[in-house]
C-alpha cells in the first residue's frame, strides 16, 4: 500500500481474505453434489494394469487387502476399496482383510457389512473371506509375515484359531498370496508394502492412495508397483471400468464417480482464483512501475 493511501481494488484482491476463497470452494464442492453432476471417465494405464490383473487371476485366487488408513481419508480412499472388493468378489476370489493401522480395523468391519455381506450373500466367512484385523508393528509386522503368517496371526479378529479356518490352510506367509492390495496414504502404507513385502517376496503389490501421496509413488510403477489409484480420480476410473465390464454394478453406489463432479468444479474455481490473483499481481506491478516512472 503505497504512500499510506487507501488500498486500491487490485491491492485488496491480491490480499483477499482467505475466508472468501473458502466460501467459493465450499460452494464449488457442495453444489455439484446437490445437483448430481456426473462426467464419463476413461481408465488410465496405471489403473487398468491393476484392474486387468484381477481379471486375469483365476477363481479362488488369494487376494490380501490391507486397510492402512483412518476415518479422515475414508471419503477419498473408501470408494477404491469398495470397487476392488466388489471386483474380487465378482471374480470369486478369496479375500483376506487386514489392517496395519489401528483405525483400519473398524473400516474393515464396516466394509464387510456394507459390501460383502449385503451384495455377496453367497460369500462365506472363513471360506471366501477372512478378517484378520489390526496388528501393531507397522513395517516390522510385514517383515514377520513375509516369512511366517502364523507367528503374528494366531486367531482372526473374532478370536477363532487360524488353524481351524479353511481359508488359512494354504497360507503360510505373504508369498502365498496372488496379489496384495494396500489402501491408504500415510505411514505405514504402500511404500512399506513394496519395500518389505513386494520387493523381497516378489509378490505383486497394487495400491490405492490419496491424491496427495500418488506423485510420490509413481517411481515404483510399473516394476515394483503393479498399479496405482490416486484419489477420487483413480476411484472413478476403476468404478467406470467395473461398471463397463460388469453391468450389474451399475446400480450400486459409485461415490468415486459422484465425487468427480465436485472435484472438477473445485479445480476450476481454484484455477479461476489463481488467474485472478495473477491479473491483480501484474496490474499492481504495472501501476507500481508507472508510479515510479512519474514521481
Amino acid at each position: 500500500m503505497a504512500n499510506g493511501e487507501r488500498p486500491t481494488f487490485l491491492e485488496r484482491v491480491q490480499a483477499i481474505d482467505r475466508r472468501i476463497i473458502f466460501l467459493f470452494v465450499a460452494l464449488a464442492v457442495s453444489l455439484p453434489l446437490v445437483f448430481h453432476v456426473i462426467f464419463p471417465e476413461k481408465i488410465s494405464p496405471i489403473v487398468s494394469s491393476m484392474f486387468d490383473r484381477i481379471e486375469s487371476l483365476p477363481e479362488g485366487s488369494r487376494v490380501l487387502i490391507s486397510f492402512d488408513y483412518s476415518p479422515s481419508t475414508v471419503p477419498e480412499v473408501q470408494p477404491m476399496v469398495d470397487a476392488v472388493v466388489r471386483h474380487c468378489a465378482a471374480r470369486k476370489q478369496k479375500l483376506y482383510l487386514m489392517a496395519l493401522w489401528a483405525t483400519g480395523q473398524n473400516i474393515t468391519d464396516e466394509t464387510i457389512h456394507r459390501v460383502i455381506e449385503k451384495e455377496f450373500p453367497e460369500y462365506r466367512y472363513g471360506e471366501d473371506y477372512l478378517n484378520l484385523g489390526y496388528k501393531s508393528g507397522n513395517q516390522g509386522l510385514i517383515n514377520v509375515i513375509l516369512t511366517d503368517m502364523k507367528k503374528m496371526y494366531t486367531t482372526d479378529v473374532h478370536g477363532t484359531a487360524i488353524d481351524s479356518i479353511p481359508m488359512m490352510a494354504q497360507i503360510r506367509n505373504l508369498r502365498n498370496f496372488d496379489i496384495i492390495f494396500t489402501f491408504g496414504g500415510g505411514f505405514p502404507g504402500t511404500k512399506e508394502w513394496v519395500l518389505f513385502a513386494g520387493d523381497p517376496g516378489k509378490i505383486p503389490v497394487a495400491s490405492g492412495v490419496t491424491a496427495v501421496q500418488a506423485p510420490l509413488l509413481y517411481p515404483y510403477y510399473p516394476s515394483q508397483l503393479l498399479g496405482l489409484m490416486g484419489g477420487i480420480k483413480g476411484a472413478a476410473e476403476y468404478e467406470y471400468e467395473l461398471i463397463r465390464r460388469y453391468p450389474r454394478f451399475a446400480n450400486v453406489a459409485h461415490p468415486g464417480i459422484d465425487m468427480m463432479g465436485p472435484q472438477a468444479v473445485a479445480h476450476l474455481v481454484i484455477m479461476l482464483f489463481i488467474v485472478i490473483g495473477n491479473i491483480a499481481y501484474f496490474a499492481g506491478r504495472r501501476r507500481e512501475a508507472k508510479r515510479q516512472g512519474t514521481p
Binding site: 465450499a26 508393528g137 517383515n143 484455477m271 482464483f273 501484474f282
Partner: protein
C-alpha cells in the same frame, strides 16, 4: 557415564542391525523385526508418560483457571457464585489475564474426553460380549464414541485441506519469474487433467496431436518430469538418511541425547 552408555548401546545395536541385514540365517534374519517390535513395546509403556503429562498439564491449567476465575468473581464483593455463573464465558474462554490458567474450559473438555474414552475402552462398557469381546465391537460405548465423534472429527480436519489448498495455491502460484510461470502452467495442466474438463477442452485435437490432449499431457507430466524429480529427491534423501544414521551410530551426532560435553 550418563552420555556414554546410550552412545555405546546405539553403536552396538546399529552395527549389529546393519550386519544382520546381510545374514538371513537364524538368529540374525529376524533381528531387525524383533528390534522394531521391542521399540513398539517400549513406546506403549512410554504412552503412560504422555498420558500422564496430558493429565498433569491440563489438570493444572483447569485447577488454576477455576481458582483464578473464582478470585476474580470474588473481587468487588457481592454474591460471587452468581457473578461466576454470569461471567462464565469470559472466565472460561480466554478472558483471564493469567496465561497458565486461560481457556481452562478447553482443558476440562480434553480431560473429560480422555477419561471417557479410556473408561469406555478399558472396561469395554456396553460391549455385546462383555469382557471377552473385541473393544471395537459394534454396540459398545467405545465403538459408539468412535463412530459418532472420532470419525466425523477426523474427517472434518482432513477436509480442511481442500480449503487450505485453495488459499495456499492462490498465494503461491504467481507468475513472478520464469520458473514460477512454468510451475503455474504445469499446475493448470494437472488440475485440468484430473477432471473431465480437461478431456472436453482438447477432445477436438487430431489424433497426431494426441500427446497434447490434456489428460495425456497430465499423465506425461506425472510419469516423466514428476517422476524424475521425485527420484532425485528420494536419492538425496536416502543419502541424507545414511549420513545422518552413520553420524548417530558413530556418536558424531549427539545433540538429540542432550547437549555435548563441552
Amino acid at each position: 557415564m550418563r552420555r556414554q552408555v546410550p552412545l555405546i548401546i546405539t553403536l552396538i545395536v546399529g552395527a549389529v542391525l546393519i550386519i544382520a541385514a546381510f545374514i538371513p540365517h537364524h538368529p540374525f534374519g529376524r533381528l531387525g523385526e524383533n528390534f522394531s517390535l521391542y521399540f513398539d513395546i517400549i513406546a506403549v509403556f512410554a504412552f503412560l508418560l504422555g498420558g500422564g503429562n496430558l493429565v498433569r498439564i491440563h489438570g493444572a491449567r483447569f485447577l488454576r483457571g477455576v481458582r483464578t476465575s473464582v478470585q476474580e468473581a470474588k473481587k468487588g464483593g457481592g454474591f460471587w457464585p452468581l457473578k461466576f455463573l454470569v461471567e462464565f464465558p469470559f472466565f472460561a474462554f480466554g478472558g483471564l489475564e493469567d496465561k497458565r490458567g486461560r481457556d481452562w474450559f478447553f482443558s476440562l473438555i480434553t480431560l473429560a474426553g480422555f477419561f471417557a474414552m479410556l473408561y469406555a475402552g478399558l472396561f469395554k462398557i456396553g460391549n455385546p460380549d462383555g469382557w471377552q469381546g473385541n473393544v471395537t465391537q459394534p454396540g459398545g460405548l467405545f465403538q459408539e464414541f468412535y463412530q459418532s465423534m472420532f470419525n466425523p472429527l477426523q474427517a472434518t480436519m482432513y477436509a480442511l485441506l481442500a480449503f487450505f489448498v485453495a488459499s495456499a495455491s492462490y498465494r503461491a502460484f504467481r507468475a513472478k519469474t520464469l520458473e514460477a510461470t512454468i510451475l503455474l502452467a504445469t499446475a493448470f495442466i494437472i488440475l485440468l487433467g484430473r477432471t473431465p474438463a480437461g478431456t472436453y477442452a482438447t477432445d477436438w485435437l487430431p489424433s497426431w496431436l494426441d500427446f497434447f490432449h490434456i489428460p495425456n499431457l497430465a499423465n506425461w507430466i506425472m510419469a516423466v518430469p514428476n517422476l524424475a524429480g521425485q527420484r532425485a529427491i528420494m536419492i538425496g534423501i536416502s543419502l541424507g538418511v545414511i549420513a545422518m544414521s552413520l553420524r548417530v551410530i558413530l556418536g558424531v551426532e549427539r545433540t538429540y541425547l542432550g547437549a555435548d560435553e563441552k
